[in-house]
Each structure stands twice: as structure tokens, then as C-alpha cells.
């Protein structure tokens, strides 16, 4: 679809998976919100084409003024950045608002079920004015789900909340994703949210989609523009393997193991870890005299220059799992780092995302 604005043109051609969480990531002004609004039918891209599965929601390609399904006829739910509850109705009535729109046969979830899932059961008889920002946003999500959408669009649903509220909502979003098989398109400018929620990632820059693919593929690309390079890093899916005696927890993934501060989740829990390229250093031989505990066997795949002066970005392969390291050009030359070289990747810091 293509949308032209006075100071901005959105021109994207994307095919997104019909399951899991797709995050549209970009800086402000990149067109991610416009993109989402066009999917919802709230913006009408002249000459645009948009289909959801087999349903064509807009087909006005090549100047045809034709097929445009109005927002209220699209089987979708939208959660906006600002909570958009109906102030004149109670929480329960707000949620029923979504529910009664869905034909009984298409209803997939009961109100009580969704309320429990989002932890708003005690709030049902309150009015929106009596809720905190985080609670309001959860009710908005509940209302959207009850309208039996086939896809959920979320436009920076956490951006208006402070960190504490964000942390309060994130687990609910993850639960949502696990327990309802509902594809979600999620607009965000927060790398943390991407790392935590995304299965599929689309990078938008100045109205163009510059990358689109499974999370790990996109994150491990080293050819991305400067705007994204500073946050370069990968996300690794690990399994909680064991609790160590000295207050450390051992996580395992196909490429090795990682020790982190003690986590209280049960053994077997899947945990996502984010590893920044700047927190990975490289060594040719095992470093026994080092304070860095986490070290994995890796093979160099490719190198690329980066915006940070004097540094290069190295893409590594750790038994099929990609890993990025940002090291100085001097070190790269000294160690003669080149594609195919086997070495040790030392991980200085791991951010656990749950």
C-alpha cells in the first residue's frame, strides 16, 4: 500500500504471517502507525491493496475506486496508544460492547474468561474513570478480543504508560499470545517490546519496510541502516535447565548454556534472552582467567562495518543460532577474524525478557 502525505510517503508491500506476533518496528515518523491504521481501514490509502487471508479488505490498485471494506465490517480488534474506553459505560458494558457485535456463532471467548485472562474481573462494575492507566489498557484489550476479531492490531499499547505499568501489562500480552491463537500486529518503537513479544519483525524506516522476517533472522542482519545499528543484538530462546548452588540459574539453548542471576521460574520454563552485540566479545582460545562466565562456541559468518567509529559488526553462528558481536576493527584485524573462523564468543551481559 502507498499513502502520500504532504511531508511523508508510506510505501510498503508486505506479506505477513497469519499467526503469532508481528511487530512493526521503527522510529517515530517511520510510518508504522499509518500502516496499522490502513490495515484497520481507519486510513484509506488511495490505490492501496490489503487482504487478510482470503478476505480482500481493500483493492483500489491502479487508480480503481472500488473495493474498500469499512472498519466496522473488518473482523479485527484495535488497541490504541491512548486507552479508548467509552467513559459513559461501566467496564462490563464496555466489554459487552465488543461482544454484542460478534455473531453468537463466531464468539470464541466468554466475557468472564477474557476478564480473568487479563486480570480485570474485580473491575467489571467500575467506571473507566476509576481505573489506572494500565487497567484501562487491559480493559481496552479485553473489549477488542470479545468482538471476536480474526486479527488484533495494537498501536503502541504501552507507550503511554510508565515503566511500572508496562511491566504490569507485558505478562498479560504474552499470555494472550500463548492462550488465544490470534494473530497480532503490534506497532512499537521499543526494542524491549520487540524482543519480548515478536515472532516476526518488520523494520520500517521513512515509510519503507527495510526488513521483514522471523525475529531472529531480522535481528541478526548486519546490513541494516544506521538507525537500527545501535541496538543491534539478538534474541535467544532458552529453557531454564537448573538452579545452581551459588544463586545462579542455568539456561540452555541448542548452542550451549548461559548462567544468569537466580530466576524463580520452574525448571523447563522457556525464557527469552536478549544479547546486545556490544556485550559480546570474541576470543580465539578459551579464556580461563576471565571473570566472564558465559562463553559459547561460535563460527564467524560475516563482518560488516557499523556506525560506531572504529568498530565492526560480526555475525556468528552458534549451532544454528545467530549471534552478533560488536568489536573494534583493531581487534578484528589482530585476531584475523574472517568468515569460517571458529572461536569463543564471550557474553558479558544477558537481558532476560520475562
Amino acid at each position: 500500500m502507498r499513502i502520500e502525505r504532504r511531508d511523508f510517503t508510506l510505501d510498503v508491500d508486505l506479506t505477513l504471517p497469519g499467526r503469532g506476533v508481528t511487530v512493526l518496528f521503527g522510529h517515530s515518523g517511520s510510518g508504522k502507525t499509518t500502516c496499522l491504521r490502513a490495515m484497520a481501514g481507519l486510513e484509506r490509502a488511495p490505490g492501496g491493496y490489503f487482504a487478510f487471508g482470503t478476505q480482500v479488505w481493500q483493492d483500489e490498485a491502479s487508480g480503481r475506486q472500488g473495493h474498500f471494506v469499512a472498519p466496522h465490517r473488518r473482523a479485527l480488534g484495535v488497541v490504541f496508544q491512548e486507552a479508548s474506553l467509552f467513559a459513559h459505560l461501566s467496564v462490563r458494558r464496555n466489554m459487552q460492547f465488543g461482544e454484542q457485535r460478534a455473531p453468537t456463532s463466531e464468539r470464541r471467548f466468554a466475557l468472564a474468561e477474557v476478564a480473568a485472562l487479563l486480570g480485570i474481573t474485580p473491575l467489571l462494575d467500575r467506571s473507566p474513570g476509576q481505573l489506572s492507566g494500565g487497567e484501562r489498557q487491559r480493559v481496552t484489550i479485553a473489549r477488542a478480543i470479545l468482538a471476536a476479531p480474526q486479527i488484533l492490531l495494537m498501536d503502541e499499547p504501552l507507550a503511554a504508560l510508565d515503566l511500572k505499568r508496562k511491566l504490569e501489562i507485558l505478562p498479560y500480552l504474552e499470555r494472550l499470545q500463548r492462550e488465544l491463537s490470534l494473530p497480532i500486529i503490534y506497532v512499537s518503537h521499543s526494542p524491549d517490546e520487540v524482543a519480548r513479544l515478536a515472532d516476526h519483525l518488520v523494520l520500517l524506516d521513512q515509510g519503507k519496510a527495510i526488513a521483514s522476517g522471523p525475529l531472529r533472522e531480522v535481528l541478526s542482519r548486519i546490513d541494516l541502516p544506521a538507525a537500527f545499528a545501535d541496538d543491534a543484538g539478538v534474541v535467544i530462546e532458552t529453557r531454564l535447565a537448573a538452579q545452581e548452588a551459588d544463586d545462579l540459574t542455568r539456561l540452555e539453548f541448542p548452542g550451549g548454556q548461559i548462567l544468569v542471576s537466580r530466576r524463580d521460574e520452574p525448571i523447563g520454563t522457556l525464557l527469552r534472552c536478549r544479547i546486545h552485540a556490544r556485550d559480546v566479545s570474541l576470543a580465539l582460545v578459551p579464556q580461563v582467567h576471565s571473570s566472564i562466565l558465559n562463553s559459547v562456541e561460535a563460527t564467524v559468518v560475516e563482518l560488516a562495518s557499523t556506525v560506531t567509529p572504529g568498530h565492526v559488526l560480526v555475525r556468528l553462528d552458534v549451532v544454528g543460532e545467530p549471534l552478533l558481536a560488536r568489536i573494534t576493527r583493531r581487534s578484528a584485524d589482530k585476531l584475523q577474524i574472517r568468515p569460517g573462523l571458529a572461536l569463543k564468543a564471550q557474553i558479558k551481559a544477558v537481558a532476560l525478557l520475562a
Binding site: A40, L42, A70, P71, H72, R73, R74, L76, G77, V78, F80, Q81, E82, S84, L85, F86, A87, H88, F97, G98, R101, A102, S127, T140, R143, A144, A147
Partner: protein
């Protein structure tokens, strides 16, 4: 007490409020949500009756409604009636000079509804019309109620425009405000005092009633 004048005033006020309601709602939504070229000029024109001396407004209305004007001819062709010194003309004038009282509170009320709330209603499956009825109207209700109260009370009390356009024909254009003036001119103090007190009470009740209505809706 001039019951005929009182009844005429109440009819005029009720008719004005009812006829103005749909138009003012449409205009207020338009002004609040879809900015258009020349909006400033339109808004200024709507506000004019607030600052213009009623006699000036009345004078122009008299010109516009006068026997030879195209508007008067059209109206005569359609209904066989005149616009000057008739109830019809009074009502037409009343619709015009009440515009700011009807549009302003509604415009503020609609402007206070965030865009996301309307969009949330659309994507929850409501058509534009259903959104209007089930989300916008209830949310804007206090403003709409206030607008109706103001319009009603202001019509009861309008004097200058009525006198210019309608004169003081009993049963046709003599409203209670005109009747009070006539009685006071005739040094009939007790009649003027009685009607003034009645008008005061009526206006007070109208405003109090509707403002309470508005509160009860928002407080739900």
C-alpha cells in the same frame, strides 16, 4: 398576566430548540472534528448574534425577510404566508439568533471526545451511524442538554430581534418579553412584575433541570 403571550413564548422556545437540535448537532460535529477551509469565518458568523446589538440583527433580518426579498417570495410561494410580523418569521429569526447558544456548547462537547474513542467504536463493529447514536450522543449529552437549555431560556427572553421582526401582534408575535415591555410602558407595574417573576422562574427551572439531566448522565 398575558397567558396568550406566555403560551406563544413557550411554543416559540420549544420549536426553536427542537428545530435547531439536529442542525446544531450536525454543525457542531463538523466544526469539532472535520476542519475545513473557511471554518474560522463560519465560526465567527455563528458567534455574531452574541455581540451584535439585537436591533442590528433584527434590522438585517427584517430586510432579508421583507415582502420583496427572494427569501420572502420563496416562502410565500411555498406556504402562502409572510415572514415579517408572523410567528413563522419570528421562528426563523429565533433559529438564527440562537445559533451560538446551540452550537457552542455542543461543539465543545464533541471536541472533548477523543478520536480514538470513535475509532474504537468503529472497529468494535459499529457503523458511523451506530457510533453516533450509541457513543457520541451519550458522551456529548451534557453539552447538548446545556445547549437546549440555553436556547430555550434565551428564546423566552429575547426582545430586540422579536420586536424588529415580529412587532407585537397578540397571538402571533407578542411574546412574553414584549408583553412585559408593553405593560411597563403602560405603567401597569403589577402585570409587568408578575410576568417578569414568572419568566425568571421559568428560565431558572429550564436551566436547572437540564443541567441536572446532564449531570445524571455523565455520573452514571
Amino acid at each position: 398576566m398575558d397567558w396568550q403571550a406566555l403560551s406563544l413564548s413557550l411554543q416559540l422556545a420549544a420549536a426553536t430548540a427542537l428545530l435547531l437540535l439536529p442542525f446544531a448537532v450536525w454543525l457542531a460535529r463538523r466544526l469539532a472534528w472535520s476542519p475545513f477551509r473557511g471554518q474560522g469565518a463560519i465560526e465567527a458568523a455563528i458567534l455574531l448574534p452574541l455581540v451584535l446589538p439585537p436591533t442590528v440583527l433584527g434590522y438585517y433580518l427584517l430586510l432579508g425577510f421583507g415582502g420583496a426579498s427572494p427569501l420572502a417570495e420563496l416562502y410565500h410561494a411555498l406556504t402562502g404566508r409572510a415572514l415579517v410580523f408572523t410567528f413563522d418569521g419570528l421562528l426563523a429569526a429565533s433559529l438564527i439568533f440562537n445559533l451560538p447558544f446551540a452550537v457552542q456548547p455542543m461543539q465543545r462537547a464533541f471536541a472533548a471526545i477523543p478520536r480514538e474513542v470513535r475509532e474504537a467504536a468503529w472497529v468494535s463493529g459499529l457503523s458511523r451511524w451506530q457510533t453516533f447514536l450509541r457513543v457520541e450522543l451519550p458522551l456529548a449529552w451534557p453539552g447538548i442538554a446545556a445547549a437546549l437549555a440555553l436556547t430555550f431560556a434565551h428564546t423566552l427572553g429575547e426582545f430586540g430581534v422579536v420586536l424588529m421582526v415580529g412587532g407585537s401582534l397578540p397571538g402571533e408575535t407578542r411574546t412574553i418579553a414584549i408583553a412585559i415591555y408593553d405593560q411597563a410602558q403602560a405603567f401597569n407595574d403589577s402585570a409587568a412584575a408578575g410576568m417578569s417573576a414568572l419568566l425568571l422562574v421559568l428560565s431558572f427551572i429550564a436551566v436547572a433541570l437540564v443541567s441536572r439531566l446532564g449531570r445524571s448522565v455523565t455520573g452514571r
